[in-house]
């Protein structure tokens, strides 16, 4: 069967195509529209997926949307009614939002694709998350936990799934916590209070938390309370997201934690003010971890299952994931490369194939590279036209040269094959650099990524040597496959891994298996032979505010804007020639 999965209209829209039960293409709309977290109907992504498979829309057996719009409308309307009369400001906006577009998804999909409406299906938001986590994981039976801001009504679910190749699939969500009680929205309120954009700045809260001490944990526990049945509830007096247009937290929240950060002023954790923000971030992070670890621990005892599949936006919190792995009792923890809403496009398509249409299970390839491939010829052409030095080299030579350049302090834009599906650069659209020099971290933050100085960078290490450098618990290598866990750097290596060791001695490490990205694996080997450690700094190939690059032209543009030293697209290597470029720019001016 040919099934198109679609997620859209909230944030980070995406499309994914499965044929006969296997993914063949998946890409976020932002990677093609170049508008970060693009929530619009993902027409470009859909067109690319269909082109990739050589299909016309009429050939699709089904298109499936990742949530149920009418149920979502039910939640929105009910929330407005419950918030009467304070919800009067949000009512017009919410109604226009839902009735204007989001409620008519069947018609939109049908009209845009030109397929009959009866071929358009829907599934639950959290089932999409669950399917994305469970059906792509190499396990036959697992507990499932999904947590995010909100879907239709659910904000967190627990369930379990079973499958075997050629056999039937069962995914059963057992219990849920409902809106407005939400771990995702709880964390987003702190994100907003800290002056970061919601649905985008949550990484920053996690990074900032490492600078602080959780001295407000008791206050946060007053906001995020445990219920006697082991779930949680929010004290809604501290939040406004359920009744205001532009506020996530309320006056009481401000009374408790102080005035929100002015988003125009930089955070300096070295100042008293900066420490305060870091302490609040650390407290929110700590309490979030406590709750989710506790829920996972109880569920492990209840199910007795060895594996846990984790989905939803909260699964992007690598610190919490690592704690679940260490403390909840599961042997393995699977987080897909796209646990957020974008990944729901793939999850929904797989759910439709296995469960809606009852097709037998097929194991999915265990990699994240489902997007458009880079065209090295395009890079060669662009470089030639701009008079930049480039070369086409045999792979071994190229890898040796790049390893050598990184060792001499070069920052390398690395593009290879198909783009990753999900928010992490996992070796196909990465900026790579020397992991040992703290000045390198500052240079990349300041001059290349144009982002806050407190934000850490991730390392990539071959699976064979990961335990030498990082304190990985059992199952840690698996969690690090898609950069989903934060683990301590071994103390004896911290000095040599300064650019990737966060202030608390940890790193969000990518543990790389050769089969997943063989060229990057070989580059790590070459770097190790030259410089003694098989670790590189690996950060996403983009500039702050932009999506990760997709095409050679975008990589080339970012390479020039960011002042990187080397750009690699498969076998084409472009070197930066500062003098020549400066001269050309002068001519232009």
């Amino acid at each position: 069967m040919k099934i198109l999965g679609i997620s859209a209209f909230y944030h980070d829209a995406a499309a994914a195509l499965t044929i006969d039960g296997l993914p063949v293409a998946a890409v976020q709309e932002e990677r093609l529209s170049r508008s970060k977290n693009d929530p619009t109907f993902p027409m470009r992504a859909i067109e690319w997926c269909l082109d990739q498979a050589g299909l016309e829309p009429e050939a699709l057996d089904a298109a499936i949307f990742y949530e149920r719009p009418a149920l979502k409308f039910d939640r929105v309307l009910m929330t407005l009614l419950r918030g009467f009369p304070q919800s009067w400001r949000i009512f017009p906006k919410a109604m226009k939002n839902m009735v204007g577009e989001k409620l008519w998804v069947r018609g939109i999909v049908s009209a845009q694709l030109g397929i009959p409406a009866r071929r358009v299906h829907f599934t639950d938001h959290h089932l999409s998350h669950a399917a994305a986590a469970f059906l792509t994981a190499p396990t036959e039976e697992a507990a499932i936990l999904t947590a995010d801001g909100v879907g239709e009504w659910a904000t967190l679910t627990v369930g379990q799934g079973s499958k075997r190749p050629g056999g039937p699939v069962d995914i059963r969500l057992l219990r849920e916590v409902r809106f407005p009680h939400s771990l995702g929205l709880f964390y987003s309120a702190f994100t907003a209070w800290l002056g970061f954009p919601v649905n985008e700045g949550e990484y920053k809260v996690m990074g900032l938390a490492a600078y602080g001490a959780p001295r407000f944990a008791d206050e946060v526990r007053r906001i995020l309370r445990r219920t006697p049945d082991g779930a949680f509830s929010l004290d809604l007096g501290y939040f406004d997201y359920h009744r205001a247009v532009d506020a996530a937290y309320s006056r009481r929240f401000v009374d408790l934690f102080g005035p929100p950060r002015d988003r125009f002023e930089p955070i300096d954790p070295g100042t008293a003010q900066g420490r305060h923000y870091a302490d609040v971030a650390a407290s929110a992070q700590r309490v979030l971890e406590e709750v989710i670890v506790d829920i996972a621990t109880a569920f492990r005892k209840e199910t007795g299952l060895a594996d846990l599949c984790l989905g939803g936006g909260v699964a992007l919190n690598g610190v919490a994931n690592a704690r679940i792995l260490r403390e909840a009792g599961f042997e393995r923890l699977f987080v897909p490369s796209a646990p957020g809403d974008a990944g729901c496009a793939l999850g929904a398509a797989l759910w439709a194939d296995r469960i809606l249409f009852g097709q037998p299970h097929r194991d999915c390839p265990d990699h994240p590279f489902w997007g458009p491939a880079v065209e090295p010829d395009d890079l060669a052409r662009l470089a030639a036209e701009d008079g930049l030095a480039f070369e086409r080299a045999a792979e071994a030579d190229m890898i040796d040269n790049v390893a050598d350049a990184i060792g001499r302090g070069a920052v390398v834009g690395w593009m290879e094959g198909a783009v990753e599906f999900g928010p992490r650069a996992l070796g196909h659209r990465s900026i790579l650099a020397d992991p040992g020099d703290a000045a390198m971290r500052d240079r990349i933050n300041r001059d290349i990524k144009f982002r806050e100085s407190f934000r850490p960078f991730a390392p990539v290490v071959p699976v064979e040597q990961a335990a030498t450098f990082f304190e990985l618990p059992p199952g840690g290598a698996r969690l690090g496959r898609f950069m989903s866990g934060v683990f301590p750097v071994r103390p004896e290596w911290r000095d040599r891994l300064r650019a990737v060791t966060h202030v608390d001695g940890t790193a969000r490490v990518q543990v790389l298996e050769a089969a997943m990205a063989p060229r990057l694996h070989r580059l790590l080997g070459a770097y190790s032979r030259c410089h003694g450690i098989p670790v590189l700094l690996n950060t996403s190939f983009n500039i702050a505010g932009d999506p990760i690059v997709t095409s050679a032209a975008e990589g080339y543009s970012t390479f020039r804007r960011a002042g990187m030293d080397l750009l690699v697209a498969d076998d084409v290597v472009v070197r930066r020639d500062r003098a020549r470029q400066a001269q050309r720019m002068e001519v232009m001016a």
């Binding site: 170049r34 508008s35 089904a62 149920r68 009418a70 149920l71 009910m78 009614l81 419950r82 009467f84 009369p85 009067w88 009512f91 017009p92 906006k93 226009k96 204007g100 299906h121 829907f122 599934t123 639950d124 089932l127 659910a154 679910t157 369930g159 069962d170 995914i171 059963r172 969500l173 057992l174 219990r175 849920e176 916590v177 219920t227 006697p228 049945d229 082991g230 779930a231 949680f232 509830s233 532009d246 002015d262 988003r263 125009f264 002023e265 439709a352 469960i355 809606l356 009852g358 036209e385 701009d386 505010g545 932009d546 032209a553 080339y556 543009s557 020039r560 804007r561 720019m585 232009m588």
Partner: protein, 244 residues
């Protein structure tokens, strides 16, 4: 300078809080403009145009930094900088990107004509702003400097339009008409938004109270914590993938 706007500009730029806010808004607009221009540079096949668009985009990045630095400096001088949500991009809800070109879908001629007219409008606006900023020479210096750059952008985009488009004049007229049409649509959308807000707010207070009472009563009975997932049959596909 257009004489009729002087009193308005003077009023707008007299207040330091509004001045800071305007500069920070300009910074956001310039930064977004830079992204569009970098995108245009990525899309074009003409090497010379690519380099020029790239240089232009770099200018916009620099302008964004200048506006931001000056806006922040002014903001820091204020006892109360005011609410942050006043710093939006001035677009109405759902209008994101409305005024911008969709770079990938435009011809080179349309793109260059759009750039030329936008830069001309910006150059004139900045000249007008600079003329009413005698009381703030630092802000005036920033705006004057950027206005000069905009004139340069005007010239290069016109030259490129002549070089690359067989009928540059026609492209400019089409772009002018499109700008006019967009301005009309923008006004119409703002008006429609206001009317719909009014109607929906009236409906809210007239129709919702009894339903709200029932909903609140039901909410009071709901306990927090775990709830059984409503319909397991959905998980098994028997609901047929419906919207509900």
């Amino acid at each position: 300078m257009t004489g009729w706007r002087v009193p308005i500009d003077r009023l707008v730029w007299a207040d330091p809080r509004r001045r800071a806010r305007k500069l920070l808004q300009f910074a956001e607009v310039e930064a977004q403009g830079a992204r569009d221009l970098f995108r245009a540079a990525e899309m074009t096949d003409d090497p010379l145009l690519r380099r020029r668009l790239f240089a232009h985009a770099r200018d916009e990045v620099r302008h964004a930094a200048l506006f931001r630095a000056r806006g922040l400096a002014l903001r820091r001088m204020l006892a109360d900088p005011g609410p942050e949500h006043g710093l939006g991009d001035g677009l109405i809800p759902g209008e994101r990107g409305f005024d911008r070109l969709e770079v990938e879908r435009e011809s080179i001629a349309a793109l260059l004509a759009f750039i030329h007219l936008s830069e001309r409008a910006a150059s004139q606006a900045f000249a007008a702003y600079g003329a009413v900023l005698d009381h703030d020479p630092e802000t005036r210096a920033v705006i004057d400097r950027i206005a000069r750059d905009e004139e340069g952008h005007m010239r290069y985009s016109r030259a490129e339009l002549t070089r690359l488009a067989p009928d540059a004049r026609r492209a400019l007229w089409v772009a002018r008409l499109r700008r006019f049409w967009r301005a009309y649509l923008r006004l119409a959308l703002i008006l429609a938004d206001m009317i719909s807000r009014l109607i929906l707010t009236l409906l809210y207070f007239l129709l919702l109270p009894p339903f709200a009472w029932v909903a609140k009563r039901a909410a009071r009975k709901e306990a927090a914590g775990w709830r059984d997932c409503p319909e397991h049959d959905r998980a098994e596909g028997r609901a047929g993938g419906g919207q509900y």
